[in-house]
Symmetry: C2
Subunit: 660 residues, 2 copies
């Protein structure tokens, strides 16, 4: 290793340690062990341009081991991504650009929010899928708009996570050769030595999963690290480069779990600094210059070469260039009103109308892509142009296999990459499997569309294990996450419109397995964007309001008609999205649910707790508080109280109670 490389690596180490020691919080171990890997990537390997951190063709880097954030911030500082020394000194402080784990919404140069173990590699798989697809779609011979690698730095924890295993299995199957994972293999995890909890044969396992495995025996040997990466690039498979490192290298806690999560003392931080010289947080001009030459200036050059290529491309292929710009900017304007012709006799399941809408969208937006965890034939949500595979790189349907969690985490990566509008689908009850990745989508503000079908106990025969009860509440409880449960085909259309046009909010479309009648009109359903609207107005003076969503809206309308016959004047509100409703003005809300109405009843075949907010002390929640049952769907629904008679009785009881 050259002297300057050594100095730069030590600078990364010391800067990182100084951050966590100053913050009295952080993870010094990985920074000390993995600094040579990061240095190699940034100065010798990656095609990046710090001046254009969002460049579509940059190499991507995900720090799957997000607890190593201080190391990432150090290299972003040296690489001139906009993080100052003051930012580093502000590590883990309120409103800083240097939070405890890297966050894409806060810090330039961060390619993915990470920290929850297991999520990084799947996100990288998503990026690699996006790259394969876009490269094959747009490149013309030597005019390469897209041609980049995706790199990951992960630790033992990541590889123990099931979601990683799912994603790596799929990546191997798909032959994503431009995905290169660097495995910081230090034999230590938070609680113990790795050998206390894991004894897999790493090489054999990943080779069996269609990955290359390359071992770098000495994590200090940056020549070997670079050589391993070059070897990985020549392969037709994704590559796992296992780099043996020493956690907390050079400290008194080296090689022990103690190095993982507790900052070093000021004394020990100072003694590390002494190896380097200078004041705390100081960077020598030599190291600054080295990064300027090898990252900043090299990056500008690389980028300008690409701009030349793009200009040539635009000249030679103006139509494709325009399309490329549109997909990268996600700049499509779909006329949803005329996208699919539904009529008031289209009494099909919303999964069917949803599928028709997706098919129509796929024709207009050439990079809508997504898939299902082995349930496309049931969810009716399938991408166009065949299955994406090692043989068909233009297929827009991803057969994720029975890998729900990876599906969601990979979708994050596809969305992070840009250029593709991504969806994924499954049975609603199995959103449970995807929750960690959905939360991360929401934190990252990614407009992923989740299509969840089989949305209530009306699933029927498959029984309790397959019938969602609490899943609507689970997703509605997430900040910055839109749950839309349309009542019919028209509402499904506007639900899709909302999901499709979202720029920074993930959206879950909650669709039925069973047929539902069309009850709205195309005009009415436009109000879906307000979250709730009056779908059946009272005749004269409103006695009560029934709120409902999805398949229960038609039932609510029947209830209101029956109550009318009994002399009760009822308004029915279709409430497909509480998230959108909450964004409306007080006036709009008052126009939908008047505050002076006592008798407000919410009916939903779910736990439905979020409706309590609208019920006051005199309203009633008509919901389900137990697990489902196996029987034909209509029988389960009826036995669980979702029938005309029971709901009418329950309403009348409420009115009686309120008159007391």
């Amino acid at each position: 290793m050259s002297n300057i490389d050594l100095k730069a690596i030590d600078t990364l180490r010391v800067l990182s340690i100084e951050q966590s020691t100053k913050a009295k919080s952080g993870h010094p171990g990985i920074a000390l062990g993995a600094a040579p890997i990061i240095h190699t990537l940034y100065t010798k390997v990656m095609n990046i341009n710090p001046a254009a951190p969002d460049w579509i063709n940059r190499d991507r880097f995900i720090l799957a081991a997000g607890h190593g954030s201080s190391l990432l911030y150090s290299v972003l500082h040296l690489s001139n991504y906009g993080l100052t020394i003051a930012d580093l000194k502000d590590f883990r402080q309120y409103n800083s650009k240097t939070p405890g784990h890297p966050e894409i919404v806060l810090t330039k140069g961060v390619d993915a929010t990470s920290g929850p173990l297991g999520q990084g590699i799947p996100a990288a798989v998503g990026m690699a899928i996006a790259e394969e697809f876009l490269r094959n779609k747009f490149n013309k011979d030597s005019l390469e708009l897209i041609n980049h690698y995706t790199y990951v730095l992960c630790g033992d924890g990541d590889l123990q996570e099931g979601v990683t295993a799912e994603a790596m299995s799929l990546a191997g199957h798909l032959g994503l050769s431009k995905l290169i994972v660097l495995y910081d293999s230090n034999d230590i995890q938070l609680d113990t030595e790795v050998s206390e909890t894991n004894s897999e044969n790493v090489k054999a396992k990943y080779e069996a999963m269609n990955w290359n495995h390359i071992l770098v025996k000495d994590g200090e040997d940056i020549v070997a690290i670079e050589a391993a990466i070059n070897k990985a690039k020549s392969s037709t498979k994704p590559t796992l480069i296992e780099v043996k490192t020493i956690i907390g290298r050079g400290t008194t806690v080296a090689n022990t779990p103690k190095a993982h999560g507790s900052p070093l003392s000021s004394e020990e931080a100072l003694s590390l600094r002494n190896l380097l010289g200078g004041e705390p947080f100081e960077v020598s001009s030599e190291v600054k210059e080295y990064y300027k030459q090898n990252v900043v200036l090299k990056g500008e050059k690389t980028y300008s070469t690409w701009v030349d290529v793009k200009n040539n491309y635009t000249y030679m292929f103006p139509h494709e260039a325009e399309e490329f710009k549109k997909v990268v900017d996600n700049d499509f304007h779909i006329d949803f009103e005329n996208l699919v012709e539904f009529d008031n006799k289209y009494n099909k399941a919303t999964r069917v109308s949803g599928g028709a809408i997706l098919d129509a969208l796929s024709k207009l937006h050439p990079t809508i892509m997504g898939g299902s965890a082995d349930l496309a034939s049931s969810t009716k949500a399938k991408g166009a142009d065949g299955n994406f595979s090692s043989k068909n790189r233009l297929g827009r349907n991803i057969n994720f296999g029975v890998r729900e969690h990876a599906m969601a985490a990979i979708s994050n990566g596809i969305a992070l990459h840009k250029g593709i509008k991504v969806f994924c689908s499954g049975f609603f009850v199995f959103s449970d499997y995807m929750k960690p990745a959905m939360r991360l989508a929401s934190i990252m503000e990614l407009p992923v569309t989740y299509i969840f079908t089989h949305d209530s106990v009306a699933v029927g025969e498959d029984g309790a294990t397959h019938q969602p009860i609490e899943q609507l509440s689970m997703l509605r409880s997430m900040p910055h996450f839109n749950v839309i449960r349309p009542a019919d085909a028209f509402e499904a259309l506007y639900a899709w419109k909302n999901a499709y046009n979202s720029k920074d909010t993930p959206t879950a479309l909650i669709l039925t397995r069973q047929d539902v009648p069309v009850i709205s009109t195309k005009e009415d359903a436009k109000y879906l964007e307000k979250g709730a609207y009056v779908i059946r107005k009272e005749d004269k003076k409103v006695e009560g309001v029934i709120l409902a969503s999805g398949s229960e809206v038609s039932l609510a309308i029947e209830v209101s008609k029956e109550l009318k016959r009994k002399g009760h004047d009822i308004r029915v509100v279709s409430m497909p999205s509480i998230y959108l409703y909450e964004k409306q003005s007080k006036e709009y809300k008052e126009s939908v649910i008047p505050t002076n109405v006592k008798n407000i009843m919410a009916i939903e075949a779910s736990e439905a707790v979020h409706y309590y907010k609208y019920l006051g002390s005199t309203g009633k929640l008509y919901n389900i508080n137990k697990y489902g049952a196996s029987a034909p769907g209509d029988i389960v629904m009826s036995n669980y109280g979702f029938n005309l008679q029971d709901i009418v009785s329950s309403y009348l009881e409420m009115v009686k109670d309120n008159r007391k």
Copy 2:
């Protein structure tokens, strides 16, 4: 294969088909393909006694591929587990014993509720851990109280799930040699051929994960299946027996995804029946007799031999026999009041008091066992007697590795086994990873204890990805699931009491990372069992009620004191468990939260939607509706409004609004 075996296998097939065809719903493919495996297990392999389906030393069987339920019901019928032909005819009907997927609470002979793919193998891993532990703990030379195998039948879908990969990795590491997984390898899954989504080298992968792999090339060859099982038994590793079968064998849809999830037509079902003769749902006396001899009578004999052993054991080792009985019956009576001595100066984090309680319990209950997903040093929840490992079979701490989901799913298996009181622990935000298994625990009515620490944005520096916001709502939304968030050490004691004494409800203990003052007394805290209680009574006439849980209760008390100084008479209610509160009488509820009080405010550092129920139209929810932030915990809390001044102002605002 003998004639009678063939006939019995065909009977299983036809009975299964007839169930799904009659129900017009179900999964014929697996029943036709895997019938020989099931027949071999029940008649030639397993030590079971249908007359004592809960026998602690029975071999366990989990149908991980729960969609094959009709096949399981067929074999349970033949084996005399209490399922009648009428039950089979009632397949997938309301209130039947034969639901769409097997449910342990509904059907004798079912060892685990299954259906959600991926959960079966981890549950079996849990059973195998329990068996290893109890066998090593109780057996005396030839007097073997515990010595059984755990069998699983799984499909491709199961093996694609990450949670399975996690559990199998751990099982291999732990050398659980009495775990035998039969893999119904038919190359077909719901949407496609397996080869469309997976191309792993099965043998090499699982061998690398420290499993045996045995291939049975012909799934009809029951001699080979039995031989493979015998070979597996002689190994020191868990074994995966890959049995090549034909999905939907013998039908027009054989070998295609169509065989998976749609019932056969009546005509095709009849033509299958013709191969066998007799009327639909008929079983020949020959097959009945064969099962009687080879399952029922053999089972009785096996069982009676074991009873003899147990009697000898009881004679020779009365003390141990008594202990064995106690652990199997879970019949311990812990004096919680005097379990741990806390005083009113014990101002530590509830994770610390929780750890102290667990340590004390572990001394009194010799089979409390559990562990953490690589976070025991942070959650302070550690089992006694060292790590459970291939060398220490009596260790009661399971180092699960960074495998949260498998941890929860394995805990289900340990609880299902009986004999062990199981807990598991992690950071609360990562309960997201465990949700599918927690739901299943709840459906199965298993008293698993989940210890979740780092319970709010007060986690601090680790930032948004590590700070729970919506997790309390997520868990509270689950039916039959108790969430307890104690405010201090005394409440932690009674929270543990509730979790420990639970016989059929899973319980999550939500504990702080940060120190909290003791604010209750040992006497007060007993009211935790009622879910909520008045922790600070108004002085004279109550103007308002503040509800709070966990670390916010002490803040609520401070708020009430400050408001008192301003002339407002406030009651503070500690509400550690909404689940328990909902079980109380109307009178008790009225005594805690009087309905005539207008000014009710709930404060909780979470999304906290479940409090709306108690707020009426004039109350206020003081919660968090965005993701967290990285900074020292007290600074995040304060910036998120959890400080005296902001809450006092907010309360006063509410009072003002309500006076209008």
